[in-house]
Every structure is written in structure tokens, then in C-alpha cells.
Chain length 206, copies 2
DNA sequence: TTTTATTGATTGAACGTTCAATAAAAAAAT
DNA sequence: ATTTTTTTATTGAACGTTCAATCAATAAAA
């Protein structure tokens, strides 16, 4: 069935199939044959488009992180309010975007995070994303707090977000996004009340 | 070198060697030969004492969770103060015990957590431990808050603790236990301040 | 007819498990 | 005390399985 211009189509098919396979049986038992079966193609095509299994896994993690960054960026650009609270709220909302926390992406994210401990390339991707989140949070907190306090607030909120993801990925029913967002926003209120003097704002959910 | 009564010695050697191997190269590349080499024995002995690789991995996770539970229990038992604040503080301290967050145990913990998503036996162990932590936190918060608020406080603090572990396991330098404990305790203070004053149900405080 | 995309059997390496052989300690016998 | 027997712990080569990667053959589109 060779048509010209299949490359972008096949690449996306295989990345999606990889997430589905990891969601289904975990990273350890995800073989190239299983991924290929999910995508409806043969196993050999993976080496052809990604140079090998590792290349496909790296591309998959890259896409997950890109999507996450995008979900945050979209919400921050849509803000009419430029307050620190609004920006940080948008970061929280982006991190609990439904397309991210629901379905295969969540389990894949955790699997890659664990795997990145011992794979330099994945660790690099992880670090870049991690530092951007921390840096953004820190910069916004800095507008209403002293440096040391902003640092702690940013680290605390980042830990809270990751902790909610982690626990959500483990529960068989999946993450309850609404509850997670509520807890994160409540924590944000507490941070502002504790360190700053800004009055809490209301946040409506969709 | 067969001496009688080697079983408990070998079992502990192999469990320790398993953590060392996972710390060194990750769970995915931890083979029975590598574990055996770490312990200074042959590969066949693993099947003899644990029935196979899976049995050894299960025993290793079980030990990590047992140690963690023990670290919390010791601190709670040593309290002279029976206040909710003191109990929850002891739970935090136990979870950031130096023997737990330092060295091979931390990375092994995260590796097993990720792995437990698709291995029913590990998931069961994980769930039991998880529920105990949540139940303990909830019970203590309940002494100064309404039910719904205690529930949220317990979920938030559990997420915070796990998030700090998660981020600590990933940083190459390892978790900064002092900073993690500071963030967790600060969050606890905020929870008491936030919920404590909005809920005049109980006047008990530390 | 040429180009491009895809297949799938084959290959070689790596892994966990098994088990007959071995070696040392403990127990029994001299 | 010394030798023999029994018990226990351990080894490591062999086996069967699984997997990722390769590449010559194939088939469809240009």
C-alpha cells in the first residue's frame, strides 16, 4: 500500500500505538511486535522510521512532554488577567488537562519518568521540562514574595502537582482530574495566604 | 562452603544486592546474573531461595515497604505528645527517614512503584501500604477538622510526600531530606492554619 | 518502468530456569 | 581423635524461549 508522504502518518501512528501498548502491558513488556500490531503494520517498519525501538520510545516521550507544555502555553496565552495567581492557576490547569491525565498518556508518563533515572537521553528531556516548570512557577511567585519564599513555594507546588499525577497514574480508576485540580488550587491559595497578602481569587471549572 | 542456617543470610544478601543492582542500572537491566555477582554467589541460587527472579523482586519490595512502615511506627511510638500535629509530624519524619531516602532504596522504590502498575502482586502490596498512610493521616486530621476537610488534607499531604520522593529519586544528587521535610512540615502548618480556623468544631491544638 | 513503502522470515544475542555434579560441614561410627 | 557417612548448600553449563534488528523480496503508486 505504499503511497508517497506516509512518513508523518506512520510516525504518529507508531507513537500512539506505543502509548497504547505501554498503557496495556507496561513498558517492560512492550515489544516492537506488540506496538506494530497496535498500529496495524509490521515490526520492521519501526527500525525504518525511528532507527530502532529506542528511537521510537524517545520520540514518544518527547511528544508527551511537548503536549504537556502546549497545554500549559495555550492556557497562559488565553489569560486576560496578568496576575501571578492567574498564571500559576493556568499552569495547574494545563498540567491536569484532560487529554494528558486521561488514558494512555498518564501511565506512559510515569513509566518514562521511572525509566529516565538510568537513560541519559530520557533524563535530559525530563530535566529540561522540569526546569521550565520550576522556573515559570518561581518567576510568578517572585512577583509577590521574597526570593527564598518563592523558591519554596515553587518547589512545593511542583511536588504537589507531580505527587497528584503519580497517585493518579497508580489508581486503577485513573486520576480524578477535578479533585486533583481542587487540591492544587487550594494549596495555591494557602501559599498565597501564608507568604503573600493577596486575597484568594475564585476559580471556576469547566 | 555450605554451613547450616544460610537461608536468612542469603536471603538478605540477595535482597540487598537487588537494590544495589536496581540503583546501578535500573530495573529493566537488572538480570539475575548481575544480582548474583553483587551478592558474590551464583545465579542459580536465586531460584533456590526465592523460586525465581519474580519472587526475589517481590521480597525486595516487601522489605522496602516494611522498613518504611517501621520508620514511621518507631517515631509515632516515641511521641510524648499525643496531639494530631505531633502524630502527623512523626509520619512525615518517618517517610523521610535517612535510611529510606538515601542510597539504593529510593530509586528501587520508584522503580517498583512504576512497575506495580501492571503487576498485580506488587500493586496489592502498594495499595495496602498506601491505604494505611492515607487512613492514618485522615484519622489524625479528623480530630481537628470536619470529615470532608480532613479527607482533602490527607490526600494533599500524601500527594506532597510522594511528590517530594518522586522528585528526589530523579535528581542525580538524590533527595535533599532536610529541604523535603521543611516543605512537608510547612505545608502541614498551612493545612492546620487553613482548615483549623474555618472549622471551629474542635479547640484541641498542640 | 521507476520509485517508494512495506513485509516477514531469519539471525544472533541475551535471558531465566533447571539439574546433575560438587564441595563442604555436620553427624555418626570406629 | 580419626575416619566414614549423611546432609546441606552451591555451582555453572545446557536448554529453551524471547526479542530487536536486518534485508532481500514484494507490491502498490507514480
Amino acid at each position: 500500500m505504499p503511497k508517497v508522504g506516509m512518513e508523518p502518518i506512520r510516525r504518529q501512528q507508531l507513537i500512539t500505538a506505543t502509548m497504547a501498548a505501554i498503557d496495556e502491558v507496561g513498558l517492560a513488556e512492550t515489544t516492537v511486535m506488540r506496538i506494530a500490531r497496535h498500529a496495524g503494520v509490521s515490526a520492521g517498519i519501526i527500525s525504518h522510521y525511528f532507527g530502532g525501538k529506542d528511537g521510537l520510545l524517545e520520540a514518544t516521550m518527547r511528544q508527551i512532554l511537548t503536549d504537556l507544555t502546549g497545554a500549559v502555553a495555550v492556557r497562559r496565552h488565553a489569560l486576560e488577567d496578568d496576575s501571578p495567581r492567574a498564571h500559576i492557576g493556568a499552569i495547574i490547569e494545563g498540567n491536569f488537562d484532560r487529554t494528558q491525565v486521561t488514558g494512555p498518556a498518564a501511565k506512559t508518563w510515569l513509566a518514562f519518568w521511572a525509566s529516565s533515572m538510568h537513560k541519559p537521553m530520557l533524563q535530559r528531556l525530563q530535566n529540561v521540562n522540569d526546569r521550565r516548570l520550576y522556573s515559570n512557577l518561581c518567576h510568578q511567585f517572585r512577583r509577590v514574595m521574597a526570593r527564598a519564599e518563592a523558591r519554596n513555594a515553587a518547589r512545593g507546588l511542583a511536588a504537589m502537582i507531580d505527587g497528584l499525577w503519580l497517585r493518579g497514574a497508580l489508581t486503577p480508576e485513573g486520576l480524578d482530574a477535578d479533585e486533583a485540580r481542587l487540591l492544587a488550587h487550594t494549596y495555591l491559595d494557602q501559599l498565597f495566604a501564608h507568604y503573600g497578602c493577596t486575597t484568594p481569587a475564585s476559580h471556576t471549572n469547566s
